[in-house]
């Protein structure tokens, strides 16, 4: 076995995933090769450091806060679309969004006035930071509970099924727009 083949087996070697004949070959190479030995030592040190990281645990108030979130959920089931509460909790978001819409409408009107070709506008708008922060303002977990309606359970379950049961954590390599929407949907679906 040469250094190149060994380096391909480094993870398997460290994680004890090598089957016997290959494991022997790797060990033989290690005995003869100080360079690879050093690589193994360094990597093993890193893995040990990761294992040794202190385990963070839930705080004492974790369950109490969770129960509060659940009772909020129940309350909102009983009083769906309680607009006043919804508005007061989200008033900042709403006014920011309203202002933004005004500005954008204004911009659009002006833009149209100056330049009749609008093809380029949508992509420019998608990348505008202010737009994305508006999108995320409603989805902040802590502000969500009061916005949960009683209906929409069906769409909620669909989204969950999509993202959790079938789609899993992976993004099929990269952040495709569709995938991105799914992620957002997973968080948004409680609204």
């Amino acid at each position: 076995m040469d250094c190149y083949s060994f380096s391909n087996l480094l993870t398997d070697y460290l994680d004890n995933q090598l089957k016997l004949p290959l494991r022997r070959e790797a060990e033989t190479h290690l005995r003869e090769c100080p360079v690879c030995r050093r690589k193994v030592e360094e990597m093993a040190g890193l893995v040990d450091a990761l294992h040794a990281l202190p385990k963070v645990s839930a705080s004492d108030s974790f369950e109490a806060v969770l129960m509060e979130k659940i009772s909020h959920y129940h309350e909102n089931l009983q009083h769906p679309r309680n607009l006043r509460t919804l508005f007061s909790t989200h008033s900042r978001t709403f006014s920011a969004a309203a202002a933004l819409i005004l500005v954008m409408t204004g911009t659009l009107v002006i833009w149209r006035g100056y330049n009749p070709r609008l093809e380029n506008l949508p992509s420019a708008m998608n990348s505008a930071p202010v737009l994305s922060s508006m999108g995320s303002a409603n989805t902040t977990p802590s502000t969500q509970q009061s916005a949960m309606p009683s209906k929409g359970h069906t769409s909620s379950s669909m989204a969950l099924k999509d993202s959790s049961n079938n789609k899993n954590l992976d993004n099929r390599d990269g952040l495709g727009p569709e995938d991105f929407r799914n992620q957002i949907q997973l968080v948004n679906d409680r609204r």
Partner: protein, 192 residues
């Protein structure tokens, strides 16, 4: 011993699906610490990690009917927590991307939970916890997920493969590349 403690996760969720809330609480108690640790390593903020894990359990509460026995409960709940954590990180990234500090997450944001700080352990290790946490946060998302699940949560390749939804071989290659990348980032941090 709590009466519910004798059940498997899958039995518990079946009980909860039939309306037994004690079963729900047992699942929360079994998983809250692991999930908080997992999400904390992902988002580098304890408060945010708690919030995300509570939302994960809220999702379990409201959508337990979505769980089907084909998957292990742990796989399912890790997937939900991971998705919520990733969404949160992307939101943060989008907010940051146009800010003056265009260098990714500010180091000041990194929190080391004081109750877990252990100077003795720290001095034995070649790396400081904070350095490692910063390095993890700079990993590309797929590598980050693989490294946290494997080297911090210590899950098997098979389980990671199910959570992430890619073949075990792909998981292995991400762990391999993730560790190399982590080493590289740590070296950079040391040389500064």
């Amino acid at each position: 011993m709590r009466e519910t403690a004798k059940y498997t996760d899958e039995e518990l969720i079946a009980l909860f699906q039939k309306g037994d809330e004690r079963a729900y609480l047992e699942l929360v108690r079994r998983y809250k610490d692991r999930l908080v640790n997992f999400v904390f390593r992902f988002v580098s903020s304890r408060e945010m990690a708690e919030d995300i894990v509570q939302d994960t359990f809220l999702k379990l509460y409201t959508s337990s009917h979505m769980y089907k026995e084909i998957a292990r409960f742990s796989t399912w709940i890790y997937t939900i927590a991971g998705n919520l954590a990733k969404t949160e990180l992307r939101k943060r990234k989008r907010r940051k991307i146009y800010s003056i500090h265009d260098m990714g997450i500010d180091d000041k944001e990194f929190e080391i939970p004081s109750d877990t700080y252990n100077p003795e352990r720290e001095s034995r290790s070649a790396y400081q916890e904070k350095e490692i946490q910063i390095a993890i946060s700079r990993l590309p998302e797929q590598f980050k997920t693989a490294i946290i699940l494997r080297d911090i949560q210590e899950l098997s390749y098979e389980e990671i493969s199910k959570i992430v939804g890619v073949p075990a071989g792909t998981v292995k290659s991400r762990i391999n590349r993730g560790r190399l990348k982590l080493q590289e980032i740590l070296k950079e941090l040391k040389s500064k």
